[in-house]
């Protein structure tokens, strides 16, 4: 059995669904945050997969062309930005905990009518 693009996409979709379900259903804000990361990485996985299986050759790279790696480069960027995002997100969560003594989303509902 050979792994095809669909297998990767299936795993990626599964990861995204798990992450989305976590965001929707879990009450602990740290877990929600981790699930958000899961969704992010599901997207990364599909990007890498698409890149790997994209066999369109670069037309002007000479006699021994390589596949298009743009998607994989993009993933590095996403990982870098995600690291920064995690730092900010965790900082917000810590500040929130200090203010509310809680990490549960039910307790964080003052932004409403």
């Amino acid at each position: 059995m050979t792994l095809t693009l669909n297998h990767y996409l299936l795993v990626s979709g599964l990861l995204f669904a798990i992450g989305f379900a976590g965001v929707m259903l879990r009450r602990n804000i740290i877990i929600i945050f981790m699930c958000l990361e899961l969704m992010l990485n599901a997207a990364n996985l599909s990007l890498v997969a698409f890149s790997r299986f994209n066999l369109t050759l670069q037309p002007n790279l000479g006699p021994n062309p390589l596949p298009n790696y743009n998607g994989q480069v993009l993933v590095f960027f996403i990982i870098t930005v995600a690291a920064a995002e995690v730092a900010v997100g965790l900082a917000i969560i810590v500040a929130l905990f200090r203010a509310r003594q809680s990490t549960h989303v039910e307790d964080i509902n003052s932004l409403k009518f």
Binding site: F20, V23, M24, L25, I29, I32, V105, I108, N109, S110, L111, K112, F113
Partner: protein, 605 residues
């Protein structure tokens, strides 16, 4: 004599007013001296001009020829010469009298400054050779009258009277301005002489002329206090008595008559307007005389009497007898100024007591005042051989030639005049003294009595030919003679004398020895309820307007526009608030839903 000389008559009081207001207002004696000096100079210059030739001196002011041209000009002719003498002559006497009367007043410099301002304005009306200039000075006398009525502005009644006089005059002046603009449009000039020359060459409709004359007459109705704008004059008696004598008896209120005489060439063109003018005049004369019979304030009796006499003059204008009107204006100026100054002397001696029922028995105590007041009264009520007799007679004769009803009402007014003046005279000077102040009445110092004596002499002799013919000048004298020669002079004179005898006898018999008024007619006492009527009318109109504008403001502007806009914004915000339900995961779900929707629209549509 240089034709520019009359400018000095005009500018001397202005200079005095300016210097007093700007420099010497802290010094009482200096201000008073300056004011008196300026008016004496004007008097001497006027005498000089009077015996000089006629002429005009004009300087361009608004020169936008050929579009329009308004000059500033002084004109010297029979009419203005007469008025110059009256205004500066009475003015000088009143100034001198004021030296005593206003001696104890704190703001004497302000008084004299305003008096000089008035002299300037009044002389401007007299000398003006065009309508625009006359209108400017017309407003200036209104201003100075306002300032002088309100001289004691800390008294609420005086401040209110000043406002009333100014506002009532403004109503008349608005009509006056419209009239001037109409004639200006039609003839293309404001200068009287050019206007007179051009009018016959234009073919103006009768309706236009009637409208124009009546609008110009509006100015006279306001300034000369004719019905229905007469209400301000009695209240104007709140001002100092010299002011009442000068402005509200002798000169300013006669400005309306003078103005109509000045434009009589225009008035003559509309018979309808003449009829209206004559009837308004006689209506004022009768109503004011009736009101005067029941007043208790000495100055108010005289004020209503002034109204009544002004009514005579206006009627004379209306029956095409400006000569007769000016003759009566001339004699009236003397005896009415005299009566006011005499009343002022009494008020001064009695420590500002003005109620005639608190006077009495003053004939022996105030000998000079009594004698001169007698002369003034006899002149006013038309006692034969006194000045008022001659001038009133000419007016009645002119009215007789025009309409019997005008004449009959005029005669009735003459009778009433004799009645109410006898009442005033008897109650003030005879009988017992009815208050402590009246017990200790005494003549004033010479500066007070000498003007009275001079005026008394003129009140007696001003009607005789040797004075009147000189003062009136050839043209006006000719007009007066023409009225006499038209016939029935003896009949009218007899009837006028009869009216005088009946009125005087009635007043004498009814009021001799009375301590309080034996007659009580509320209608006359309350001035035919004119003030109440106006108050109700004005209050009603104002209330209605206020209600409407309040409704508009409250519901349309505030309600719909201001509160409506803010309310709409608020309501939208309120509705949108419900979308904020505070559940983090709910937001995330909606967010996801939004993304899915977008993908659906981008990919599958």
């Amino acid at each position: 004599m240089d034709a520019r000389f009359p400018w000095f008559i005009l500018l001397a009081p202005l200079a005095a007013a300016a210097i007093i207001q700007l420099i010497t207002r802290r010094s009482r004696s200096l201000s008073a001296t300056l004011s008196v000096a300026s008016v004496c100079f004007s008097l001497l210059a006027s005498l000089f001009v009077f015996f000089g030739p006629d002429g005009t001196s004009e300087v361009p002011w608004l020169d936008f020829r050929p579009a329009f041209y308004v000059p500033m000009g002084v004109t010297i002719d029979g009419l203005s010469k007469l008025m110059l003498l009256v205004v500066t002559g009475i003015g000088a006497l009143v100034h001198i009298y004021s030296l005593v009367y206003m001696e104890e007043d704190e703001s004497q410099p302000r008084f004299f400054g305003n008096l000089s301002l008035f002299m300037f304005s009044m002389l401007g009306i007299v000398l003006a050779n065009n309508f625009a200039m006359m209108f400017i000075f017309w407003e200036l006398v209104g201003l100075s009258s306002y300032l002088l009525i309100g001289h004691w502005f800390t008294r609420e009644a005086a401040a209110a009277a000043a406002n009333k006089a100014f506002l009532t005059n403004r109503i008349g002046d608005f009509g006056f301005m419209l009239g001037i603009l109409m004639v200006w449009t039609a003839t293309g000039t404001v200068v009287f002489s050019e206007m007179e020359a051009r009018l016959p060459t234009l073919s103006l409709t009768a309706g236009f002329l009637t409208m124009a004359v009546l609008l110009i007459f509006c100015g006279a109705v306001g300034k000369s206090a004719q019905v229905p704008l007469h209400v301000w004059l009695p209240d104007a008696m709140e001002g100092p008595t010299p002011v009442s004598a000068l402005i509200h008896a002798a000169t300013m209120v006669a400005a309306g008559v003078y103005m109509l005489a000045r434009v009589s060439f225009l008035v003559e063109l509309s018979a309808t307007a003449q009829t209206v003018i004559a009837w308004i005049g006689i209506l004022t004369a009768v109503l004011a005389a009736l009101m005067a019979t029941q007043q208790d304030d000495i100055k108010r009796v005289l004020a209503y009497s002034t109204l009544s006499q002004l009514g005579y003059m206006i009627m004379a204008i209306g029956v095409s007898a400006p000569g007769a009107a000016m003759f009566h204006l001339f004699t009236h100026a003397f005896f009415k100024a005299l009566l006011f100054l005499g009343a002022g002397a009494i008020i001064h001696a009695l420590h500002h007591e003005q109620d005639i029922w608190k006077m009495g028995g003053l004939s022996g105590k105030m000998k000079w005042t009594f004698l001169s007041f007698t002369a003034g009264t006899l002149a006013l009520i038309g006692c034969p051989f006194f000045s008022g007799f001659f001038s009133k007679d000419v007016i009645l004769l002119a009215a007789y030639h025009r309409s019997f009803f005008l004449f009959a009402l005029g005669l009735f007014t003459a009778l009433l005049t004799a009645f109410y003046m006898t009442r005033l005279f008897v109650v003030v000077f005879f009988g017992r003294s009815r208050s402590d102040e009246a017990e200790h009445g005494h003549d004033g110092p010479p500066a007070m009595t000498i003007p009275l004596q001079i005026l008394a002499v003129f009140s007696v002799i001003a009607g005789y030919g040797f004075i009147a013919n000189t003062a009136l000048g050839a043209e006006l004298t000719h007009q007066v003679h023409a009225i006499h020669e038209a016939g029935r002079a003896t009949l009218v004179m007899t009837l006028a004398t009869f009216a005088f005898v009946v009125g005087t006898a009635g007043g004498w018999l009814l009021y001799k020895g009375q301590a309080k008024d034996p007659v009580l007619i509320p209608l006359f006492r309350n001035k035919f309820y004119f003030d109440e009527l106006y108050e109700a009318l004005i209050a009603g109109t104002q209330d209605l307007l206020a209600t409407i504008s309040r409704f508009l403001d409250q519901w349309l502007i505030d309600g719909l526009l201001v509160r409506g806009l803010s309310g709409a914004a608020w309501a939208t915000g309120f509705a949108l608030r419900f979308l904020q339900f505070g559940n983090l995961q709910g937001y995330a779900f909606l967010f996801g839903l939004g993304v899915v929707t977008m993908i659906y629209f981008i990919v599958f549509r």
